[in-house]
Amino acid sequence: KAGWPSITRLADDPTLPLNLDLAKEASGKEMKPRPQGYPLRYMLKLYQRSADLHGHPRENRTIGAKMVRLVKPSANVVRPLRGPWHVQILDFPLTSNQVAYQLIRATVVYRHQLHLVHYHLSCHVEPWIPKCLAKHFPSSEAGSSKLPPMSKAWTEMDITHCVQQRLWNRKGRRILRLRFMCQQQKGSEVLEFQWHGMSSLDVAFLLLYFNDTDRSVQAKLLAQGQEELTDRESSVLMRSAR
């Protein structure tokens, strides 16, 4: 007890009972709005790959995370037409950090092809974070835990570095802002089409992958405690030798 002050901090941490959040989720009785379309299909596919019909996690699951959150845009602002570019600004709210979970990956899934009645658009997403490098998944990436594309019109971009380094550890309200930029096919007349009627969830969503921190935090604190105890012991031994 005297030599392990870091360990007692762990025991006092009120956020660590991981299972209590199930009770918190259950407390709300009202019907919750359920996303439809591609985002729901994506998560259902992820679930089917990771668990069987009874909810037992599959032994050979490749998801690589204990928790995956699909975040829909909270707001979208349409920018005026800029040359050939149709631009929409998407804001994704990031909920407050839970001590028990560690963010291990962040990706944005978006429509890179939009086929509308009079328009065929090619689109891409840019994080609105300075000095942020994003990585597109190559289609043949071996060992990737991401789902194979369910639709040719959608693609996935890794923004883990952007979110972890630039945004995740900020205090207060955190918003991940992305620019969804589309360009009409070459040769066609540039017309300003209306984004209205198209839900922002129809064009992009954010995926956040988490693992438990309790084991890694415990291991880290234990290691710190061991180190402190070893230092204390060695200083006592040195004094004894003297």
Partner: protein, 125 residues
């Protein structure tokens, strides 16, 4: 060991403690999230098999129950010293996790593996 050397600790047989069918054991049980009133926010799975433990905890606890020595001691205390100290209870021993797909209050969809959701074995303690 106690019943063979101490004359005031009778060596009860299993028949005296209750038939084998009433012994502490795991019972399968399936429930739907609709029955729990949770189907408005849980997308998958539809059915949930938590199981439960039920049965008599005899003083002679079978090895497979994984009971600590304390359970035997508490049973003896109840019988010989103080009846207000309760008999050991038949409770879950090991658990299995479960993956759930759910909708959060803000409309986000969450896949999460919850620990301790399904009783896998029982013990008396």
């Amino acid at each position: 060991q106690a019943c063979s050397i101490a004359s005031d600790v009778p060596c009860h047989s299993q028949e005296h403690d209750g038939s084998i069918n009433n012994q502490c054991s795991l019972h399968p049980y399936k429930v739907s999230f609709h029955q729990l009133g949770w189907d408005h926010w849980i997308i998958a799975p539809r059915l949930y098999t938590p199981n439960y433990c039920k049965g008599f905890c005899s003083r002679v606890l079978p090895y497979g129950l994984n009971s600590p020595n304390h359970a035997i001691i508490q049973s003896l205390v109840n019988e010989l010293v103080n009846h207000s100290v309760p008999q050991p209870s038949c409770v879950p021993y090991k658990f299995l996790p479960m993956s759930i797909l759910l909708v959060e209050a803000n409309g986000s969809i969450l896949y999460k593996e919850y620990e301790g959701m399904i009783a896998q074995s029982c013990t008396c303690r």
